[in-house]
């Protein structure tokens, strides 16, 4: 009876278009990238094979590469240590909103749905030195001395980027934990209530431990997304001032398209893939052991 469900021709035609698209757009480019990463191509004209010299240069003598990695780690820490705890707290609190619950959910999520392109342009205007909202606000509350060229100074620029990324992604983080909180069975609540648990106890002792598997997935996703980050940085600072806000993807972009170092840019590109895969594997392993008992 199940013969037709094992028919090879049918399986082939169902899988082939998608897999072809998938390989042509994802695996082939990575292979092409690896090939060019072994060359000294400048984008036009002839080029020679240089073996792994690009990689050696990156590891041995490219402070900007390490700076990019550091920035990604910084953003990842921002997500995990600031954004996510806050998102968990809000997810627990929102369900006490009664008839406002739905509206709260929508308001919190809206920034996440709008194009990064729009929100980043918006924040760039807010940090603007001429008509920016932030400097104007500081002026009005009498803190004129706090006014800054926010995106023009290295340490403020990276702080602004981390902040904007956390702002934009907050809705996602919130929604994931909110779904987790909502998934806690009603009987557990009722039993705890009968035993006289307070709201705070209930959330800390029952809801929080039950969120552990959700937490694990979300932490992995958040950290990987910090390494993948490109659009916000590209639009806010393009990696400047003086390469202080480069992330791997903006760095490979500027190496290839601004400095015409195609081979070098491709080497960074390959490393980006390797790093994302490695980070995912390592985190999954490490966190599985830690919270395994609940999963």
């Amino acid at each position: 009876m199940h013969n037709i469900l094992g028919d090879r021709k049918t399986i082939f035609w169902l899988m082939a278009p998608g897999l072809l698209l998938f390989s042509l757009m994802i695996f082939v480019p990575i292979a092409v990238s690896f090939y060019y990463s072994l060359t000294n191509w400048a984008g036009v004209g002839d080029y020679g094979m240089v073996g792994f010299r690009n990689y050696a240069d990156i590891f041995a003598s490219d402070p900007v590469f390490w700076k990019s990695l550091l920035n990604s780690v910084l953003l990842g820490l921002g997500f995990v240590l600031v954004q996510h705890p806050f998102a968990i707290l809000v997810a627990m609190l929102v369900q006490y909103g009664g008839r406002w619950e739905k509206l709260l959910r929508v308001c919190i999520f809206i920034p996440a749905i709008i194009s990064t392109f729009v929100t980043t342009k918006l924040w760039t205007s807010i940090f603007d030195t001429q008509f920016g909202l932030l400097n104007r606000l500081l002026d009005q509350v009498g803190l004129t001395s706090w006014q800054q060229d926010w995106l023009g100074q290295p340490h403020w620029a990276i702080a602004c980027i981390v902040f904007v990324c956390m702002w934009q992604g907050f809705g996602y983080a919130f929604l994931l934990y909110y779904a987790g909180v909502k998934g806690v069975p009603k009987d557990l609540y009722e039993a705890a209530m009968l035993d006289g648990a307070s709201g705070a106890q209930l959330n800390r002792r029952i809801v929080l431990p039950l969120l552990a598997p959700v937490l694990r997935v979300n932490v992995v996703l958040a950290i990987v997304s910090a390494f993948k980050q490109m659009e916000t940085v590209y639009l806010m600072t393009s990696g400047g001032p003086a390469n202080s806000t480069q992330f791997l993807s903006t760095y490979l972009y500027s190496k290839a398209f601004r400095e015409s170092l195609y081979g070098y840019g491709n080497a960074i590109s390959v490393l980006l893939v390797v790093i994302c895969l490695a980070v995912t594997l390592v985190l999954n392993r490490a966190l599985k052991r830690e919270v395994g008992e609940y999963g």
């Binding site: 037709i4 998938f22 092409v32 194009s115 929100t119 702002w167 009603k186 209530m193």
Partner: protein, 288 residues
């Protein structure tokens, strides 16, 4: 939302006095922080450029300067760019839905040896950063003449959206009982027949989720759109602001109007399809 245990509110939870006040203050602060920049955007999109340098944080537009939107439409070629974005998104969505339903069916319902490794391979695609293909695809598209065509956007958009879409489809298929299909097999129905007559109607909610998520990701993508396309007639919507920054860099009101025009479809889609979007985003993470 995604589980049968969904509750409307916490049983027996009532706050009063101090905690209630603290709750209201915290939530209000949060909502203001999340929404204020957008309110600022819509407010200043209706003001004259001179108002940008005043000292007001918000200013009641009196009268509202709708001329900004007129300027935006005319000078930033909004209708053309809007149409282009719509076309790219629509074709991508069709491709994504077709591929993920076909693959999802073969990977959950059919029996073959390489099923599990193939599934793992497609899922690994979720981890690969989309912009790692930026340089190689630029070169490949340049060689093959795909640069400056919509395929340069549609193909990568579709490919990178397939893993998550398939994840949503397979997750949904696993909850659909096989009895109908088993009966259909006995009646002599073929696999394509089964997909069209039985599976597609059942999958409607999952397909809606996949389509909405795909729309948002295609509509909002920016880097590839400006890297692979540099012909005016083919540009997509994000480029509208670039037009303004070049030619009318001092017309801030109209720039803000362009930003507002770009974000309105996203907000509309979100309010219309809130449940589908919530389902799509929480599909992967909650199950763990």
């Amino acid at each position: 939302m995604s589980s049968p245990n969904t509750r409307d509110s916490v049983p027996g939870a009532k706050m009063s006095g101090g905690p209630r006040l603290l709750f209201v203050v915290l939530m209000t602060a949060l909502v203001v922080a999340e929404l204020f920049p957008l309110i600022w955007l819509f407010d200043f999109s209706l003001l004259g450029s001179g108002d940008f340098f005043g000292s007001d944080i918000l200013k009641w537009p009196n009268p509202p300067k709708w001329q900004n939107y007129v300027d935006a439409f005319r000078n930033a070629h909004i209708p053309l760019l809007f149409g282009n974005s719509l076309l790219v998104s629509a074709v991508s969505i069709v491709l994504i839905v077709a591929c993920s339903v076909a693959m999802g069916y073969a990977l959950t319902r059919m029996h073959w040896r390489w099923r599990k490794p193939t599934l793992a391979l497609v899922m690994a695609g979720m981890i690969i950063p989309i912009y790692s293909t930026l340089l190689p695809n630029f070169m490949v598209f340049n060689e093959t003449g795909l640069l400056n065509s919509y395929f340069a956007l549609i193909l990568p958009y579709a490919a990178f959206q397939i893993p998550i879409s398939m994840y949503i489809i397979t997750g949904f298929l696993e909850t659909v009982p096989r009895a109908l299909e088993e009966a259909a097999v006995i009646d002599g129905m073929t696999v394509p027949g089964m997909i069209f007559k039985i599976i597609l109607p059942l999958l409607k909610p999952a397909i809606a989720t996949v389509a909405v998520m795909a729309f948002l990701s295609c509509w909002n993508e920016f880097i590839m759109a400006v890297t692979y396309i540099d012909k005016d007639a083919l540009r997509t919507l994000p480029f509208a602001v670039v037009y303004f920054m070049g030619q009318y860099s001092s017309n801030y009101g109209a720039q803000f109007a362009v930003l507002a025009i770009i974000s309105i479809p996203s907000i509309l889609i979100y309010t219309l399809f809130t449940d589908q979007i919530n389902r799509g985003i929480t599909a992967g993470a909650v199950k763990g």
